[in-house]
């Protein structure tokens, strides 16, 4: 029964009541019989379906581990550039962290054979009037 607070108008109430009655009649039409169970498409028993649901998680974890392992291996086996054979870097190769003073009063520190760190000495640079440089 439509609630009166929704539609206080009597005509509206009557219309909605007629709709409700029509809806009940329409809903009570004969229904076709139920299909056989299980249906033609796949319907595994609940226990088996549950086990199958668990499997993807295990497989996902294994795939993730394999991916991490591959990435790690790739990082370890990555091709590295040959160490410099001449110049200040070659000198520093024997001592990975070394300080070499260049002729331009720029101190060069070799963090590793491939990574120089340049430090300009301020006092010497001002006296000589050299332009500073950072590389």
């Amino acid at each position: 029964m439509p609630r009166r607070e929704d539609h206080p108008d009597r005509d509206s109430q009557r219309r909605l009541e007629r709709f409700d009655a029509a809806l009940r009649r329409w809903a009570e039409r004969p229904a076709p019989p139920p299909p056989a169970w299980p249906p033609a498409r796949s319907a595994e028993p609940p226990s088996r379906a549950g086990a199958r649901r668990a499997a993807p998680r295990w497989q996902l974890a294994a795939a993730s581990l394999a991916l991490v392992a591959l990435l790690g291996l790739g990082f370890l086996l990555r091709p590295r550039s040959a160490p410099p054979t001449d110049g200040p870097a070659a000198t520093a190769a024997a001592a990975p962290v070394a300080a070499v003073a260049s002729a331009d009063e720029v101190l060069v520190l070799w963090l590793d054979p491939e990574t120089p760190l340049y430090l300009t000495l301020p006092a010497a640079a001002e006296a000589a009037g050299d332009e500073r440089s950072t590389r």
Binding site: D6, W26, G50
Partner: protein
């Protein structure tokens, strides 16, 4: 729910297909009527079948066999609602009143104008159709309907109120959504 059905539910939860088939037979008519209201005659049987498959797989998780009828209704209703939402094209969602064009209004006075229930339901949002069916046909309370649909009882009342306003406009031949 009687004790006999609880035993059947327990057996079905253990993988007994025949037991679940018996449950399907017992609840099929009720579920089909509900699906007809939500998705229409053409897709009702498919919608119920979808819901039954979901129920079959999820049945071991049902802790209280006595709650099976309400739980099954909830599963099938939600599958039907999802199907109804997927089916509607976006433009129809913007102008659902298009489907109500040409709906015959009852005769002005004393006539028994036939009400085209299917077309009137099609003019409502899927959830409104479900609320109307569960209210009018199943006679469920707002709380029960809310549990089936996963919404609060106040939302159920709101859906029903909007559905009735819409139905009334259609029955009176008015079009509140017509653009000026």
């Amino acid at each position: 729910m009687n004790g006999g059905e609880e035993g059947t539910v327990a057996r079905a939860a253990g993988g007994d297909e025949a037991a679940f088939g018996a449950l399907v037979e017992a609840h099929w008519g009720r579920l089909l009527r509900l699906a007809r209201s939500v998705v229409g005659d053409a897709e009702a049987a498919d919608a119920v079948q979808d819901g039954l498959l979901v129920a079959w797989r999820g049945l071991p998780a049902l802790r209280q066999p006595a709650a099976f009828p309400a739980w099954l209704t909830r599963v099938v209703t939600r599958r039907a609602l999802a199907r109804a939402r997927r089916r509607a094209p976006w433009w129809r969602r913007l102008r659902p009143l298009d489907e109500a064009e040409g709906v015959a209004a009852p005769e002005a006075s004393g006539g028994d104008g036939e009400i085209d229930v299917a077309r009137l339901l099609a003019a409502l949002a899927p959830r409104q159709r479900a609320v109307m069916h569960l209210t009018v046909v199943e006679g469920m309370s707002d709380g029960e309907i809310g549990r089936v649909l996963g919404i609060a009882a106040a939302s159920v009342r709101s859906h029903r109120r909007r559905a009735r306003h819409r139905l009334l406009a259609l029955l009176e031949g008015k079009d509140p959504h017509a653009s000026s």
